[in-house]
Symmetry: C2
Subunit: 175 residues, 2 copies
DNA sequence: ATGGATGCAAAGCGTTTGCATACAG
DNA sequence: CTGTATGCAAACGCTTTGCATCCAT
């Protein structure tokens, strides 16, 4: 997409510690595009970076759509529009698709990792392995492909759901 | 639309040679579910396995929606319904998402591989690398995760689009 | 015969967009 | 002030589904 921005160190195996807040980082990005950091945008960024959980558009919408004491409410349209910008800004990224929705996670100040997705409880579990990036860097080079990043979903059954008896996760297993 | 395919399949991960035709394989699957191999379903399977190209639902729909001398026409609803069954049957699988559509490919009689996805021309290029599966097998074991498979998209710029001058790939080439 | 399958059209659903109004810079 | 951004609601585009009819077994 954007040819500019993102001074991401070529090798993210060692993310630098975050020196700028997400909001500040976003403001910088917006500035380069002649865009403005509105209250709505700031509210959204704060909400998203309040924790490190995965999230989808609708979760953010439902949290900000109803009047809130602090941040003020934000419309559904603005949430979607802002999420797209945040992705371009490199602050968040889509990690998977779950129940027909894109699942996002922080991409700023968060180490590179991939996910296990349980077919039973549809839970996402992160795991970290540097070999994968290394292999991909090499293979990309072999193919003359300029790798910018990757999205890896490992499907299967998580440890909890695999245990035969007892209780298992219940998130959204139909039938 | 010419994804590069390496027929250099001789490795351990290589699929057991196909002994049954896709249609036959599908019939077997359907039987176990008390479902029937109708003319429509057979037409769809033949159309899909006529070549090894990636495809999305709409491509199949537009090819089978209009009367055809041989196979007869199939409705949009049936194509969608059958695609879902073919996925359960392990004959096809979703490999990526492009322009808001799921992109499928053969998962039967086709060697394991992953994809490069060009951000410029959105073309999918296959590549084969056994190390990835090996690493994932090991990491999964470490996490107590029963891996069934994975989906890996490597994003970036393809060789053609990276070359500064000259013309580049078209963005949305349909048919 | 008969329960599963098809086609059609309408409904679903997440996401996007046109437009009038409201602000950030 | 001026060009952006927001909200609302309607529009979208892919996919699913209700229902009457059809057909594989």
């Amino acid at each position: 997409m954007g040819p500019i921005v993102n001074e991401t160190a070529t090798n993210e195996l060692a993310r630098q510690e975050v020196t700028v807040s997400p909001v500040e980082k976003f403001r910088e990005f917006l500035a380069t595009r002649r865009m403005r950091l509105t209250q709505e945008r700031e509210t959204i960024v704060r909400e998203i970076f309040a924790d490190h959980e995965h999230f989808d558009s609708d979760q953010i919408v439902s949290r900000l759509t109803q009047p809130r004491r602090d941040g003020g409410r934000v419309s559904r349209a603005t949430v979607y529009r802002t999420l797209r910008e945040l992705e371009k800004a490199g602050l968040i990224r889509k990690v998977a698709r779950s129940n027909d929705r894109e699942v996002y996670e922080h991409d700023y100040g968060y180490p590179q990792h991939d996910h296990f997705i349980c077919e039973k409880c549809s839970q996402l579990v992160e795991f970290r392995n540097d070999e994968i990036s290394t292999v991909l860097e090499r293979v990309s080079a072999e193919y003359g492909f300029r790798m910018k990043g990757h999205r890896l979903e490992v499907h299967g059954i998580c440890d909890a759901c695999a245990r035969p008896p007892a209780r298992r996760h219940r998130k959204l297993d139909m039938i």
